[in-house]
Symmetry: C2
Subunit: 387 residues, 2 copies
Amino acid sequence: MYIKKQRLLTPGPTPLYPPALHAMMRSDMHHRTEDFRKVYRACLADLKEVMGTSNDLLMFAASGTGAMDASVSNLFSKGDKVIVCVAGKFGERWADIAKAYGLDANVISVPYGQVVKPEQVAAALQAEPATKGVFVQASETSTGSMHDVEAMGRAIAKTDAIFVVDAITGLGTMPLDIDGWGLDVVIGGSQKAFMVPPGLAFMSVSPKAWKLGETSNLPHYYFNLKKEKKSGDAGESSWTPATAMILALGEALVYVKQIGMAHLIKNAQMLAQATRAAAGKLGLEIFSAASPGSSVTAITAPAGMDSGVIVKEFRSRFGSIIANGQGSMKGQIFRIAHLGYFDFADLFAMIACLEIILNANGHPVQYGTGVAAAQEVYAQAAVKSLK
Amino acid sequence: MYIKKQRLLTPGPTPLYPPALHAMMRSDMHHRTEDFRKVYRACLADLKEVMGTSNDLLMFAASGTGAMDASVSNLFSKGDKVIVCVAGKFGERWADIAKAYGLDANVISVPYGQVVKPEQVAAALQAEPATKGVFVQASETSTGSMHDVEAMGRAIAKTDAIFVVDAITGLGTMPLDIDGWGLDVVIGGSQKAFMVPPGLAFMSVSPKAWKLGETSNLPHYYFNLKKEKKSGDAGESSWTPATAMILALGEALVYVKQIGMAHLIKNAQMLAQATRAAAGKLGLEIFSAASPGSSVTAITAPAGMDSGVIVKEFRSRFGSIIANGQGSMKGQIFRIAHLGYFDFADLFAMIACLEIILNANGHPVQYGTGVAAAQEVYAQAAVKSLK
C-alpha cells in the first residue's frame, strides 16, 4: 500500500470547499433565534444574488429530488397536461414524478447522449395548447449533455405553460438567465457547484408559477411552497432546518460571490473544454458530443474496455472516485466532473492518472499527451480570461 | 478570478491527513485523566513502533527546534568537544545551538548542495578522541540532501561520542535503523511525514545518550528529558500537553502503521525519483545531485529566472504553496516536497503546473513531457512495488 488520497471527483457530491465544512462546526445554535435567522436570510439572499433572479427563492432540507417533487405537487393538478423532456436518467425521474402525481405527460424521449431540441418542445406545445408545464434538465448529469433552455424558455413563455428546470448540475456550470429566459421554476442542490455536502435543495419560483399553483389540487405537506415562502420572509424555515448544512452553504456562497458566478461557470467550461481536448488526443470519444455540458464530461470507454475498469482503477491506484455510467450506460461510459470546487491542477492530475489506466488496460496512449492538450487549453484561454 | 485550491506542498508543514485534523475536534478532554493517558500512551508506543527503536521515546509541546535544544541542554556540558556537520540552514542551527550552550564545536561545513562525508566525521573523531557528540541532519531540508547516517553511525559507535540526528524530515523519507546504526538521539516533528500541523517534537534517546546526560551541567527547565521520561512512563507529559495535536498525531500514526513505515518511505522515494526524472526531462538541474534526499527535491531555477517567480506563480495561478530556497539560496532554487501525505496525483498536477510556469517565463518546455517522465517512474516501479 502507498499513499492514495481519497479524492471525490464525481458530479455530486463534488469536492467540498474546506471553509464551508469548517462552518458546520458552528452549528451549536438554535434555529428559532435571531442568530440563526441572520444566517438563513443571508443564505436565501445570496442564492438569489448568485442565481441572478428576482423570483422568490425557497429552500428545503431535502435532496434535489425533494424540490423536483415539490414543484409538481405544489404547482400542478391531477390530469394536467405536461411535456417532459427525457434525455437521460434524470429526465426519466421527471417522468416518474409526473406519473406518481397523475399528470398527463407527453414524454419526449431522445437516445442517451442526444438532447431534446427546442423545436420539439415548440411543436409539442403547438399540438397541445392546454399544456400546463414543461419539465427539463438544464444539464443532464447522466449523459453529460445540456439542453438549450434559453430557446425552450422563449418558446414556452409565449404559452400558458410554466417552465420547470432541474438545474441541479446546471447552476454554476452554464449561464441561466432565469428572469430573461422565462425559467419559471429553477431547482438547485447543495452538493453540486455550491461545494457543500448533500442535504439542501432550493428553487426559484416565478409569478407565473405561483399563479398556476393557486389552482393546484395535489396533496402535499412537508413540501409546501406557500408556507415556505412565508417562513423564509420571516428568516426561518417551516420545519426544522438542517442548520449545519445552511452554515456550510452560507460560507460557500461567500466564496462563490467572491469568485463571481460568471467566473465559476467559466471555470467549469474551461475544465470541460480541456477535458474534451485531452480525450480527443487520447483517442476517446465524447459520449455527449451533440451538446456537451460543462458540469461533467461523459467519455465513452475504448472499444472492448468496460468503463468500470477505469472507475475501479482510479480508486485502487489513485484513491479517486470518478463516476461510471448510470443505468444502461454503466460499463459504457465514465464521467469526469467539473462543477464547483474543481481546478486545473485537479484536472491535470486526473488526466495523467487516466493515461496510466488506459495504458495498463489495452488502450495504449503516449504519456503526457492528454495532459498537454489540457495544458494548451489553460494556456490559450484560461489565463487570459480567468486570471 | 477562478477556482484555485490552496494546496500546501511545502516540506513542512506538509499536506495534512484529514482524519487527523478531524481528531482535533475530540480535544474536549482533560489531560490528567485516564481517557487522555490512553491516547498519550498509544502515541508514544506507536511512535516507537514506526521509528523501529527500543530506545526511550519522549515528546514535547514544541517545534522540532525545541527537541534539538533539549538534546544539547540535557546531554552535554559546557565546553564539551563536539562535531557539527553543516550542509545547509539546519546544520547551521545545530552550530548555533552548540554555541548558545558554550560547547566547543568543530564545525565541518560543506557548500550548500553537498553533504558531509562519513570519512570527514571519522577523521575528525580520530583527530579529537575526547569528542562527546556528533550532530547532523539525516535530511537537510534546505538543500534537499541526505547524509549517510548509517556510515556515520557505525564510525561514531566505536567512540565515546553520541550521535545526535535531526531526523525531522528524515523520518518517513529514508530508512533509519536507529538501534542498528547507533543513532543515539533521533529527533522528529509532527508537521513532516507524520502529516499533522506543527506543535509537537519527539526524540528517541539511547542508553549511551542517557549515560552522557548523567554528567550534563547545562541549565534547562521546560525541556527536561529525565522528568519527561518519568512522566511518559506514567502516561502523561510533564507540563500541559498540546492535547489536540496529540489526538491528531495519534490518528495519523494509525494511518502510518496501516501503510507501513517502509511503504511510507518508499512512497516518498518514488515521488522523489519521479520528480528528478521530470526535472531532467524539462532541462532543469537537481541542486542536491550529489546526494539527493526524498523528503524534498531542490531544483535549480533555469538560468536567468528567479526561483521566486516559480514560487509566486504556483500561488497566483494554481493556489499552491511550494518552497523557495532559504537564506542565500533564495531566488536560486525551488523545492518540491514529497514527505508524508503526498501521492502521485499530487505530483502529476505539480509537474503539469510547473511546465506551464516555465513556459510562460522564458524556459520553453514541451507540455506533458515532464509529466510523462513521472508517469514512467510510476508505471515502471511504483505499481509493482507499492500497489
